[in-house]
Amino acid sequence: MTTHWFADTAVLTGRSLRHITRSLDTILTTVITPIAIMVMFVYVFGGAIDTGSVSYVDYMLPGVLLITIASGISYTAVRLFADMTGGLFERFQSMPIARSGVLWAHVLTSLVANVLSLVVVVLVALLMGFRSDAGVAAWLAVAGILLLFTLALTWLAVIPGLTAKSVDGASAFAYPLIFLPFVSSAFAPTDTMPAAVRAFAEHQPATSIVNTIRDLFAGQPVGGDVWVALAWCAGLLVVAFGLAVLIYRRKLA
């Protein structure tokens, strides 16, 4: 590791961030789907779903936030893919800079882009009537969980970014992730689902994350779900990070 790791990574991140700040369309296309889903569910389907005393927009927002992240990270893969194929990557790799910094720059850029998208979606939700009883600590906890989830999915996105053969391949891996919240407790309580679906829904990562965030937004104490959620995120992060780094090393060999 060179002594310039932080400086190099900061410079590379600055460059990569310009892709976000100069063409805000990636943020727009990231948030358009979650916002459309939110509008559909709140104004069309939501009335038919029994969420008890909780307003539907409050009920569904955590799931929409996960969808936002899942669609946001597909751009992470696309940006990395563009560098890989555009020759810029090789130029960086032939220079005396910290090689892992090239990857970290993309990861940090992904975090910034997703935070921006999440803020936009929450603001739209507020306009649509979302209200939260969460205090500062609860909001910080929500931010922490979302950031951890983003980091885990970002490292997952690095894998197709490094290995894809086409731009479409680089972004397609995100589709199943975008749909995962639909088969969870995000949009409807799981107890009305058929047994097999319900079993899947209750044991997949989106449910525990959604339940935790929902409790935090409601200003209620979180149940055991928070540990399950953290375990999923941390587990995914470790596996994705390990695989991504392995593939990256192979690529360089």
Binding site: L12, R15, G87, L88, Q93, S94, P96, L252
Partner: protein
């Protein structure tokens, strides 16, 4: 000590045996041209020399450092302009140069960028995004990026492919200026006149080996001397190339 030493270099991609025992040396401060047909393995050699690819076999040293064991030292000694312009569409020309200067930890990156823009006739385009540049402008920017930090050895992989005659001349001038400063340049090319113009030594890569290596005068001697037709005509490098490559086929 030569700037570049390659001995018994072999590289295969799966079934494809691209380099089958390449030997070459490049003297310090010289311009060395590597000629070869499409797919001969020129880019493969450049990538191995610039630590982007690992050799299967052979001893490869750049600036005295082993490319496998001392890759970090090699990277400090070189700069690579790849076959395809390595630029970022979103950034301006000036931002590219500032980025390179920062990554090489140089002072006054802005001043360095402005100087290079001037030198490569890009001052007026400097504030524009590269997406709006022509092929020649990209290539010039690409080469300018490689000069930052004054590395002692520069690799140029087909630096003038796709340029108009004017753009080619500009690149040639840049290469000559580098040579005057004592920079070692290894360039690959498909254009024989380019090698004639620029190179102190020329090597021809064919069938995975260096089949000829010498000065232009030495290469000319490989063919029967001037043929007498209506006028006396020295064999051009092109004649030499085609005779050798054609014969080997």
């Amino acid at each position: 000590m030569p700037a570049i030493q390659v001995h018994g270099l072999r590289k295969a991609f799966a079934e494809l045996d691209v380099l089958r025992g390449v030997d070459l040396e490049v003297a310090r401060g010289s311009v060395f041209a590597l000629l070869g047909s499409n797919g001969a393995g020129k880019t493969t050699i450049v990538k191995i020399l610039s630590t982007l690819l690992k050799a299967d076999e052979g001893a490869v040293r750049v600036n005295g450092f082993d490319v496998a064991a001392q890759a970090a030292d090699v990277r400090k000694s070189i700069s690579l302009t790849g076959q395809f312009a390595a630029v970022d569409e979103i950034l301006t020309g000036r931002e590219h140069l500032v980025l390179m200067a920062r990554l090489r930890h140089l002072r006054e990156p802005g001043r360095i960028a402005d100087e290079l823009l001037e030198r490569f006739g890009l001052t007026r385009a400097g504030a524009r995004r590269v997406a709006t540049y022509s092929g020649g402008m990209r290539r010039r920017l690409d080469i300018a990026m490689s000069l930052i930090g004054d590395p002692p050895i520069i690799f140029l992989d087909e630096p003038t492919t796709g340029l108009d005659p004017q753009g080619r001349l500009e690149v040639w001038q840049a290469v000559k200026a580098l040579a005057e400063r004592g920079t070692t340049v290894l360039l690959t090319t498909q254009y024989l006149d380019e090698a004639e113009q620029l190179a102190d030594r020329i090597a021809i890569l064919h069938d995975g080996r260096i089949v000829v290596n010498g000065t232009l005068a030495e290469l000319r001697q490989l063919l029967p001397p001037a043929e007498v037709e209506y006028v006396e005509k020295q064999p051009t490098l092109e004649d030499v190339f085609l005779a050798i490559v054609g014969a080997a086929r």
